[in-house]
Amino acid sequence: MRKRHTPKDRLITVALHVALAVGLFFAAFPIYWMLSSSFKSNTEIFALPPTILPKAFTLEAYAAILGDPVKLRFFFNSYFVAGTVTVLTVLIALLAAYGFSRFNFRGKGSLNTLIISTQTIPPITLLIPFFGLVVSYGIFDTYVALILTYLVFTLPYAILLMTGYLNTLPRDLDEAVAVDGGTSWTALWRVIVPISLPGIVATSVYTFLLCWNEFLFALTLTKSTSMRTVPIGIQLLMGQHAFEWNQMMAMSVLGSLPLLLIYLVAQRYFLAGMTAGSVK
């Protein structure tokens, strides 16, 4: 019910747009600065007064990153670990979610509470016993160590997310399979999985992001340069060449690409996953 366009009304609209511009600067400037710095030379990054657009546009920082097999290995490790964990998590969570969504059984309520509460267990608390376990089983500095530990953190979210999705699907679908004499296992693969793709995509996206971003366990449970993931790689870069800011920014841009791409292509699933823990 917008009333007449009084001067006061117009003033409010102008003020709102000014506030939106300030908000935009706050939200986006740091990211713009990362992007533009990645196309600058190191001397230009600290030029006075600062250059908003790169004056001498250069791809030298990207060439340095992409031409270095050590850094490419960081990317391979991140993609490999995050990809493997995503496949495993989605499979295991799908089974659990099916159990939660389609059956009534003793202990269901408490198991559900257990899974919700595991979401808030501090990673630092698990780090020390994991370190002890990983060392004593001789899997320190291996993919297995990272994959197993990531699985623990991704699983609770994935189960809650998938259960929420399966609960929205009508039960008559799988009951029809039961009437035909099929087992719940057949119903799961023949009926539920094919129509659960949106839920599976949202869960995969979220799981992948959690793994891609993980820092603490990658830092502690791996040691050799060839086992490091992208976040650790960025930190190493900072230690080795403290003043190669353009390379650090280029690496950060490359390290953010999967998230940005997923966000642009599958915004809906992305948001569904990111708010999964919080909005029930």
Partner: protein, 298 residues
């Protein structure tokens, strides 16, 4: 179906959910619950992890932690960092959500801005830390802009002076975390029935009255549950602080997670680190119980 067949079928139905859940429960049990018991055990041992036959230490390691002024400083920094972060995440998230939800802006602009305002969320903590280190470098762009406007007279070493470091990391974290609130509140705003506002218009309510008496009460459940989760998660922040300041200078940004990490992996005092980790766990558990009770009451 014969009776025998039917009872067989029933049994299958009864066992099935446990079978479906077993891989998850196995992983959560072995890799989450068991380690939690282990870390508690470590905290009562001498030279945990490092020796094969550790001796019983009693409450010695807890005593050592509670006698350590750095622990108390870390606890205080964690509280400051977390409270400020949650308050500003909520405020900024709310303001942005209300602005984006206003019918005074055109829908295309709204959609573009919504995508751009979410941006900080898409970056991982390590990258956020690196970006803010570049921005807040003594010779960096923030100092140069602030000096040009005349807000500061000389270059400020944001991350390396004890007076500003804690504020600087808190600011970076505020920037990084508000989109969760914004997205959730925006979804909440769209769920408030339009007739509430129409009824208020008929009564001649002013904009701020509608905000206080309709919008905020309607959003309260979201505000409370996200604040609690944000509080629990922010308390556990590690990479942002580790990469920007590493807890320094002179412990001025030491938080519980960096304190514990250093005990474990710089001093290799894994027993004392376990005691500290258990303290963090207890604080988190307390808050989690509160959160779950709130969710159930809804």
């Amino acid at each position: 179906m014969t009776r025998q067949k039917r009872s067989h079928h029933k049994l299958k139905r009864a066992v099935a959910p446990y079978l479906y859940l077993s891989p998850s429960l196995l992983i959560i049990g072995l890799l989450m619950l068991l380690p939690m018991v282990t870390v508690i055990a470590y905290s009562f041992q001498n030279s945990a992890v490092l020796r094969r036959d550790p001796t019983f230490a009693g409450l010695k390691h807890y005593q050592a932690i509670f006698d350590d002024p750095v622990f108390w400083a870390s606890l205080w920094h964690t509280l400051y960092f977390t409270c400020m972060s949650v308050i500003f995440h909520m405020t900024i998230g709310m303001v942005f959500a209300l602005m984006l939800n206003s019918d005074r802006i055109n829908p295309t602009l709204r959609n573009i801005l919504r995508v751009l305002y979410i941006l900080p969320w898409l970056f991982t903590a390590v990258i956020i830390a690196v970006i803010w280190r570049l921005l807040l470098e003594p010779n960096g762009v923030v100092n140069s802009i602030l000096m040009q406007i005349g807000i500061i007279g000389s270059k400020v070493e944001w991350f390396s002076s004890p007076e500003t470091a804690l504020h600087a990391v808190t600011f970076a974290n505020i920037w990084a975390g508000y989109p969760l609130f914004m997205v959730s509140l925006l979804a909440g705003l769209q769920g408030i029935p339009k007739d509430f506002y129409e009824a208020a218009d008929i009564d001649g309510a002013k904009a701020y009255q509608k905000l206080i008496f309709i919008t905020i009460p309607q959003l309260m459940p979201i505000i409370i549950s996200i604040s609690l989760l944000d509080f629990i998660w922010t308390m556990q922040v590690f990479p942002l602080i580790w990469i920007t300041t590493g807890g320094g200078p002179i412990y001025s940004t030491e938080v519980l997670s960096t304190y514990t990490y250093k005990l474990a992996f710089s001093s290799y005092n894994l027993s004392q680190a376990s005691a500290s980790a258990v303290v963090i766990l207890l604080i988190s558990l307390g808050l989690t119980l509160f959160y779950i009770r709130y969710q159930k009451a809804r």
